[in-house]
Symmetry: C2
Subunit: 369 residues, 2 copies
């Protein structure tokens, strides 16, 4: 496993960050312009890692070199961000990426142009220091997932106390809200009495399965992904897979964006390919809605838009979808010219999904219940 | 108070819905085409109700008449929806509005054209029957609010047991997730030890106030609105205002959409003006970010877009904003040509909002802490 999975102390995080400043300083003393070397972060530079069984960045590199103005600005920002993170760690604080963007107002030439700049830099620093953004105390804006089912976690609360929460008995209808940091210093996996984990794209379907008692009938934990899953959502699934040896089953809409959600869970996301072995769960299974399902279950569907078609074409050149299964699904969807939502199963009534669809689909992969 | 606030039994709900069918049937027997009379649901037909102190629909009506095809279709749908709701109530089920849209696939000529049609019809039926959508067991897609602070609720879980949850001690960092139904049969307000309730637009700012311990320092409960607040979010604020007599303070971005969020909380939303006395909290206070704040605190801001300017102009002819305060704010924002986010306060560091901004703004309205 890479260095990322070895948890670092506060001191190690600060020292890794300071290492960047030191290296720049040393280069300047030697009369060499400071540089920072980073992998190219696009789909043209990800490849399957045979050992880790997830997609990682390949060999293509970009070099930030202080002799060009844009790169020099990025290096300056790295120094300001380092200082900011050090202050947060010392004060026991965290901040959103958006707050960091605004804080850069006082960084002179280091001020971020856009929010995207600050997000990317946080990931760059992960790559260079082999620390995690969570170690840097930087949080995303989006909410984490919700979980319902017979699994028990311990979360360290603001006061430093460990609270034990069973996601079936100790939560209301909306379930357990996953915090942004799900590493062992913040969250522990305690006990479970489930056979698998089902990750669900939409809130409506999550609520349907909860109301129908699917978690109890099928002995599973349900996770609401909330669209493109946050890092903490992907990480907690990976931990449940590693520590509890439970299969991760993904149940989403049938559209190109849902395929990407699955790819980020099972293979690794392009933006975070430097930590795929941390966030992605090899062997996660795409249950549906598949393009075949639209035909097999005669589901209400919508026409693919131009954006949808472009996204499907992009997927055909994405190494993560370079398998017989995905090529077939993508080509079938293009042929049909249709996409369908999870909730379209309601065409046959509110119980069809739990009485018919899921038992059939789960049985096909050997998960009878 | 109107009939809406008297909670109805399952039998009363079913009988109200059947009343619609009966009335149509009777008219047809008499040889008269069935009709349904509804208020015009737009800003041109809302007015301040002196007694209820919220905005309600005025006198303009539209009549659905079975002699036109579109109206006849709507009447047919009403009958199908009535039957569907009755089945759900009897089975102890609920459904999302999206599911109802898909279920209408089998309703022949009653099939909904768009999701919007099904949403609007649910509201129409509320008006005609004086029941609530929650009585009909229809749920929205969006998640409810999150709450953190020293307030205690009891929520009835799926098994019918009442669970007591303190929103400071019994929840993780993400807080208590408000369910879609917050009526007394589902949720009880038990105890509180706070001086006010602060409703916050963005997740980033909610998390900031939580991390800074603002709920404890300022003795308040914090609610994350998640943008335009769900009905359950507005309703739970109204209940906390009524039952606990606590002021509701709204802290949002400074842009035209945030002003609408506030209006829906304090005055009533246009789409739900038939139940404003149920969802809106008279006396809710808009704390900021105000247009003045952009100047007073020299906040980082963005230029207003064409859409923003159109929204501001629309607000100038919205009766809810027809006050000196709002006219001044809206005109000042137009004059500046700028909007600003809550998180822009981070320009002055992560503690500025809790050390300086909120104490100053709260003190100005007599809420010193």
């Amino acid at each position: 496993m890479s260095d990322f999975t070895k948890r670092k102390s506060k001191e190690e995080v600060i020292s890794s960050l300071k290492g960047i400043a030191l290296e720049m300083h040393n280069k300047m003393e030697r009369g060499t312009p400071p540089t920072m070397t980073l992998p190219v972060r696009s789909k043209t530079n990800i490849a399957f890692d045979q050992k880790l069984e997830v997609y990682k960045y390949g060999k293509k590199k970009t070099i930030r070199d202080a002799t060009s103005l844009g790169s020099a600005r990025q290096l300056l920002r790295s120094l300001y961000v380092t200082e900011f993170i050090e202050q947060m760690i010392e004060a026991g604080k965290s901040s959103t990426l958006r707050e960091m963007y605004y804080i850069s107002e006082s960084w002179g030439h280091g001020k971020f142009g856009t929010q995207n700049d600050s997000n990317n830099l946080a990931e760059d620093l992960e790559i260079v220091t082999k620390c995690l953004r969570e170690d840097f105390k930087l949080r995303p804006e989006e909410d984490g997932a919700r979980i319902i089912g017979d699994v028990t976690f311990e979360e360290k609360n603001r006061k430093g106390d460990w609270m034990r929460i069973n996601c079936r008995d100790d939560v209301g209808d909306s379930g357990y809200g996953v915090p942004y940091n799900v590493e062992s210093e913040k969250l522990k996996l305690i006990t479970e009495d489930v056979d698998f984990i089902m990750a669900i794209e939409t809130g409506g379907m999550f609520d349907r399965l909860v109301e129908n008692g699917f978690d109890e009938d099928a002995r599973c934990a349900l996770i609401h992904l909330k669209g493109q899953p946050a890092r903490s959502t992907r990480r907690i699934m990976r931990r449940m897979s590693d520590e509890w040896k439970k299969p991760i089953i993904v149940f989403s809409d049938c559209d190109p964006w849902s395929f990407r959600i699955f790819a980020s869970i099972a293979y690794g996301a392009i933006k975070t390919a430097h930590i795929s072995e941390y966030l992605a769960t090899k062997g996660a299974h795409y249950l549906g809605i598949t393009a075949d399902d639209i035909l097999a279950y005669d589901l209400p569907s919508d026409d693919l838009t131009k954006q949808d078609l472009n996204a499907l074409d992009a997927e055909l050149t994405d190494p993560r979808f370079n398998s017989g299964y995905w090529k077939e699904q993508i080509n079938l969807m293009k042929e049909l010219g249709k996409k369908a939502e999870q909730q379209s199963l309601a065409k046959y009534g509110l119980d069809f999904v739990t009485d018919t669809y899921l038992p059939e689909k789960l049985s096909a992969i050997g998960l009878d219940y």
